[in-house]
Amino acid sequence: MRKKHFLVACFIAVLAGFIAVNLLLSQSPYIEALSDDTIDVSDINISDYLFIFKGEQNTVFFRKNTIEKQVVYDNKPLTSIALSPSQMQVGFFYHPNDATTEEASLVIYNLYENTFQKIYHTTFASWDIRGALYWLDDAHVFFKRHCGTSCHGLTLLNIKSKSTTHAVLSFPPLPDMQEKTHFKDWFGNEYEMEGLVDDVRSVTENGLHYMVFMLKNYEGNSVGQKRFLFTGDALEDVSISP
């Protein structure tokens, strides 16, 4: 009888082991890979945000010392990330639906309250989100959007009201026209800049928030920058004329 009990126990142990191994192996290889090579956005310390960088193909990576991991949220890769000027909030884009990259969400992660809030969602990401995310102050973010030929849209998103407003950058419509960029901002004001806007960024200096247009010529060489002070309800041209 003892031998019989022993054999039954062995059989149950082998069966349990077999089931356990199969359960482990049945995990999606994608999730397995994510768990090794990724880091959740909530696991990054505030002091380590300077180690975050944008990779190729709309990806976000964290690199510190010899560690390099792709930054994810809900096991899905981020496509853009930015820390607010007060360093109390992080905004990021990600694709919540594995089946398509046309769905994208903007999430605000409050670092001190450890809360996540989805404040913007689109099923038309290829038009609605065409550039990296930037904070203008702690209540506003902006990003590029689609426009058409020889133009860019710029979306301003109020993270409290979740409302969006669109500005437009217009470029010379024909080749060999003078290198100028026309800018109609979110508040109805219009500006003309010498050069082609190559990139748009934001910067905070001495508690003031600026929108910065990087300008280039047709050859791709930098021809300077144009700065606008963001006051919450207006942009003020603060560039120093050459």
Binding site: H146, G148, S150, C151, G153, K184
Partner: protein, 305 residues
């Protein structure tokens, strides 16, 4: 490649041959020119190719009072024959002495080291020389892979794309979402074709599409740039289906199997944002209304500037 008849020439025949032995390309011609005075005979156009060296094998003979001559012109420069001032522009030339010695066959080599680009090699004939062969040596050049519908990843140079593939990239980058109706995709494709056919823009699809700030999905840093570099990079079914569909539309626009719904537009914008500066004082010549992601109506306006 386009042939433009003036006023009513007809192309009787053409052939396409794939050369496997790059960088050495040999044309075995063995063709005698019809009798005539100094005129263009053969032209070799190297498109987007370099030229390290070439050799030409030709035969010339003397006929009563005049002899055969062959002139070689490379990128507009005549290869001069320094051995004979009288025939300095004709590298191969027959002499009176050939009445007794007969025809003379000479293979001459020329090292040019021309950069990758458009390079022309022209041969002119006087009387009835025989051209046996022309061998082009492209040097260290290795031809780039040509992206295709099934393997569209770019080579690092959009100039390697066929017209269909570069136009499909533009349509995929600008309008792959299923919310965009095909009518809009076709119209946007025609905006690009209309520019190619407009002398104010370059006459190549890839040059029009990659003109800075004109088609924004090709801008460095644009979120859609990875999608135009490799439309299948996401490995998602929805993108694969959209890419194949886009290639089909691009091919039909280029081959005129789809007509221009815009009647000549060369610009467009989507009214979900403010009117761009260039459109402010212009009237749209065509528009398409669709239901956008917010379930509201949007309109794409098309302009001819």
């Amino acid at each position: 490649m386009k042939y433009i008849p003036k006023p009513s020439a007809t192309i009787e025949q053409y052939s396409i041959t794939l050369f496997h032995n790059v960088p050495n390309i040999t044309f075995d011609l063995n063709n005698q020119a019809e009798d005539g005075d100094r005129r263009p005979w053969y032209t070799f156009a190297l498109v987007n190719l370099p030229l390290h060296s070439l050799s030409v094998d030709a035969t010339v003979n003397w006929h009563w009072f005049d002899g055969d001559d062959v002139k070689l012109i490379i990128d507009g420069q005549i290869e001069e024959n320094f051995e004979n001032k009288r025939w300095k522009d004709w590298f191969w030339h027959a002499t009176v002495g050939q009445v007794f010695s007969g025809q003379k066959r000479e293979q001459q080599s020329f090292t040019k080291n021309l950069q990758k680009g458009i390079n022309y090699i022209e041969l002119w004939a006087d009387r009835m020389p025989i051209l046996h062969s022309v061998t082009l040596n492209l040097g260290d050049f290795t031809p780039n892979r040509i992206p295709s519908v099934d393997d569209p990843e770019w080579t690092g140079d959009f100039g390697d794309d066929t017209d269909q593939i570069i136009l499909a990239r533009a349509l995929f980058g600008e309008a792959r979402n299923t919310l965009v109706p095909d009518e809009a995709r076709i119209a946007i494709g025609w905006v690009i074709r209309n520019r190619v056919e407009d002398s104010r823009w370059p006459d190549k699809y890839y040059q029009v599409i990659t003109t800075p700030e004109h088609v924004s999905s090709f801008n460095e840093g644009d979120e859609n740039r990875p999608y135009v570099e490799d439309p299948l990079q996401t490995h998602k079914d929805i993108d694969q289906e959209a890419w194949i569909h886009t290639c089909d539309i691009a091919g039909k626009i280029i081959n005129s199997k789809l007509s221009d719904p815009t009647k000549g537009a060369n610009h467009y914008y989507d009214d979900s944002i403010n009117t761009p500066g260039w459109a402010r004082n212009e009237k749209p010549i065509f528009k398409i209304t669709y239901i956008n992601a917010s379930q509201t109506e949007s309109t794409i306006y098309f302009y001819r500037l």
